[in-house]
Amino acid sequence: MSDTDQTGPSGPYPPTEAMLAEPVSPEEQERTATELRAAWEAPRGWRYFTAVNNSEVGLWYALTAFGFMLLAGVLALVMRLQLAVPDNDLISADRFNQFFTMHGSAMMFLFAVPMFEAIAILILPAFLGSRDMPFPRLSAFGFWCFVIGGVFVMGSLLFNSAPTAGWFMYPPLATQDEGPGSDIWLLGLSFIEIASIAAAVELIVGALKCRPPGMRVNIMPLYAWYVLVVGGMILFAFPPLIAGDFLFELERSFDWPFFDPTRGGDPMLWQHLFWIFGHPEVYIVFLPSIAIAAMVVPTVARRPIVGYSWIVLSAVGTGFLSFGLWVHHMFTTGLPNISLGFFSAASEAVVIPTGIQLFAFAATLIVGRVKMSLPMLWIAGALAIFTAGGLTGVMLAIAPFNWQVHDTYFIVAHLHYTLFGGMVFPVIAGVYYFFPFIRKKMLSERLGRWAFWLIFTGFNVTFLPMHLTGLLGMPRRIFTYPDSAGWGWLNLVSTLGAFVIAAGFAVFVWDLLRPKGNQKQVPRNPWDAGTLEWSHDVPEEYWGARSIPHITSRYPLWDDPKLVERMDAGRYYLPDSPHGHRETMVTSVIDASPELVQRVTGPTWITLWAAAFTGGAFIFPTFHMYPPAIVSGAFAVVCILYWLWTSTARPPEHDMREAGLGLRLPTYASGPKAVGWWAVWITMLGDATAFASVVFGFFFYWTARPDFPPEGALHATPGLVALAAGALVASWALTLGARHWNGAGRAGVARAALIAAPLLAAGGCAALILSVQALEPTQHVYPAVICALTVWVVAHGAVGIIMQLYCLAGSLTGKLTRRYDADLWNITLFWHFLCLTVLVAAAVMGLAPRVL
């Protein structure tokens, strides 16, 4: 990056008190406000749906997720009616099975995870005094993917063709299931998983690179820490499930027998892959919700949080430990006791950081002078419920006890206690707490209390008896039970409770939706909180922070009484938008020193189109309509390329920008200083995890099955595998070379490399396909795994080729130059990972069968 030396930040930093005390003239304030307002104005009319700003997308996201939650809740009510009395025949077994499958799937995939993403997108930039997320269009794309996938999956209920195998889709039941149910689940949710990973990338980059100047890691809001940890968890948790989905769908569509024991497959692999995702998932849902509590508690205690470091430890520690728990969902699968023991141990260990978190809240309340509020009431309810769920969790972590209650209503009770206490209650607390921030109105205190007591009471009436129901032997997921079992009265009580919960939600929804036009706008900081989001203007402005402040403490609104006034005056950074662009500030990871003014993208239809075509690529295969799926996929690629070409890493009109307070910042960066590079890096980490999961599958079969590889099996042709590896590695080397030559000003050589590299890559992919041509993946799991690895590498190779050609086109048209080479840096990073993937795949395909 030698050529950016003259274009680095310059000017005084950090700002002195004298600089900050200097007033801004009213004319200047007026001028800059007008500029800023024009740049951030939301589109109107039909074009409203082209909005990509975090305040719009986050709100849509939250409302959609909440809508799915209500639908899934209705399913639960119908199930409770069916189970209210013994031998009931209100709904058929098949419908009941569809309902419980969709209840679980929707609550997890369409409510809990998206709701975290929604809330984080909505409020994280405000916590960080940032204008928007770093990649607004990516958020919008993720949101539209989520809507399309969610409607598709939920819609299957209307056609009586919803999946029926339970939300963890165990094969062989799910693979053998006739009808499109399992495919709908798989493809619909894979699509949504991709949206989640997109959100994770966005949030991690947001928390690391879009903090306000001066907000070092030791003073960033705890919410940002949680988001960071949870983003990292998504990155490592979702890919194994995506890998599992990949194998599962290959079995469903092409009869490759990954989970079919008659042909060497093993249903246990799915269980491993699913729960490696599934348990961290619980914490992915829990941590960001408890993060809301970490924001509410200090406000209520009217003092800074006690044990900030402890809570950071708790979040990071939980993030790690949560990956060592997955087998506790598989305690009854007959694994060796000693293996179960490791997971029992980790499951107990994870209780400790979780407990620390709660005690840090208690400590804050002890030291503070508590002023109770409605959000805190919900937090208190959450704690009461969550601690109960946590304590039954401690019991369940003891493997032998788990053998008794696993798959019973005891589990149903436990998981609802953890999720209501760990997610639903804190999120509702968050809604009450942040509603004045989002809508500039208050929710009703009276209705809020009604909703709380109805939901809290109803919840305990519903789920407390279920512990006993389970201990009395009622398995989960049964659509009926005989009178003689003696579970009738307990189930009746649970059903009554469920309707009390529903009544509570009705009150809550009414409170949210009732017209509030007459209500006067709220004061700016109604709770007297100390964090930056409460500096936002009332009435609302779309720009987020009027000017981006310099931050020196954890609770800037408490510690710096002049802060808001100076922000309003536009005293701080980026108070204007001289060229009418949407911009936000990019700062360094550890100390948040200003690095860059990042131009962020504005309203567009293209994200909607891209999502629609991506949706087609996932939805058509559900009905085995492959040609339209391929066409749709191609259109999706075209849309995404258009979107990238027109709006990302374009050479700026001006290299430097007066950022305010005398600071001049560059407007373009490539390599590790650019947010795009971080995004690629993070995405590829997830991609590598998914690939590692497929490779894990190979070695899993080797340990678990005696006939892997089967005797006399055909292997991939070693010569061709070596050739493929050589060609792809050469393509990688040329890509790296292209970056180097381009940076050295030798554009011609770089272009030549970018012509040769895709040719080599294509040749490598072809050689790899040829090497496995003799294999018959439907015969046995061994050729199937080898072919799956081939598919994986070839698909990535194809993406790599598109990237190389994109850069070639950029170089030829002047989008990519010696100075503006972010695209080349980003694709080189992709190729680093691809090179590693190729080498591992080649070793597994070519060497492992001989070594084993």
Partner: protein, 364 residues
Amino acid sequence: MTTRLKQTDGQRKLRDVEIVMKTSMAGKSRRPISAEPGRPRARLAPLVALALLAGCDGRQSVLAPAGADARVLDSLFWVMLTGAVILWLLVNGLFFYVMRINRGAMSRRFADGLIIGGGVIFPTVVLGALLAWGLSIMPDQRAPGEGLTLRVTGEQWWWRVEYWPEGADTPIVAANEIRLPAGQRSEILLNAGRVIHSFWIPALGGKMDMFPGRETRMSLKPERAGNWRGQCAEFCGASHALMAFEVVAMPPDDFDSWLQAQAAPATPPGDAAAQRGARIFAREGCGACHAVRGTEARGAVGPDLTHVGSRLSLGAGTLGTTLEDFETWIAHTGAIKPEVEMPGYDHLTTADLADLAQYLKGLE
């Protein structure tokens, strides 16, 4: 719905059968548990009372243990529950105190100490101890069997059961019912036909999943003679809810003679009705799926019916075993058990059904 009416009949009948069998255990399992002396449940009286209220007839209850494994887990549960209740009260009491009773600022030292003491030291010690206890329980659970081996296969939605007495080279085949010698640990090998199931008898011990193509094992040791209910615990499709089975533990001598009787071929039909029934059985092709040893019927797709008349339930714990139950089941399988593979024989005349029932009921 027919099932509902039949079920109560079935249960009543079940008790009758037990009495007929003179195993002197009928009713014992239904005696209120509190009547048994020397049980460690003085703690948490109200909760226990509540549990007993529901669990006293708990033929499927974790809280009414009758097996060596289940008993250990029962004690484990009560200890953990006591601890959990105390801790819940302490933690939430603390929150209530600081939010409602003493809202003023208290000592920072106390707060920091609370995080270290309550958040780290106390849980580390308590959880470590609990973990060590839990781990040390594991080797004794599911210890190797002491003679009899059962091989149970989970089918769609019934249980294929094979008894392998020590040294046997061919199994004694039965279905949908587990009989075990009391006071003795029996080895149980588990498999599955098409999808995953889970084998669970709460009164005797923990559950174990059954996989297609992967054998799992467990063992059970009933402490006394008695009759309980087991059920599939892993969701396995449409009729998962209707995949249960009766469990009978018998004094070892009774068990041996019972097993001997099971090994014998079927009793030939006695009266004229039963003989007609046998002919209908053959005519309708029932033998293609079901085996009745000693006859032409050798099918292995469905449950072995050689001694179906002596079982305590029909349709894998779904119906009783009166003649009426037989008729209902044969004529309306699909209505009783959704998506079951056996077709309903509702084209048979009432008389034919009655004869067929007579025949099957006679296969004792």
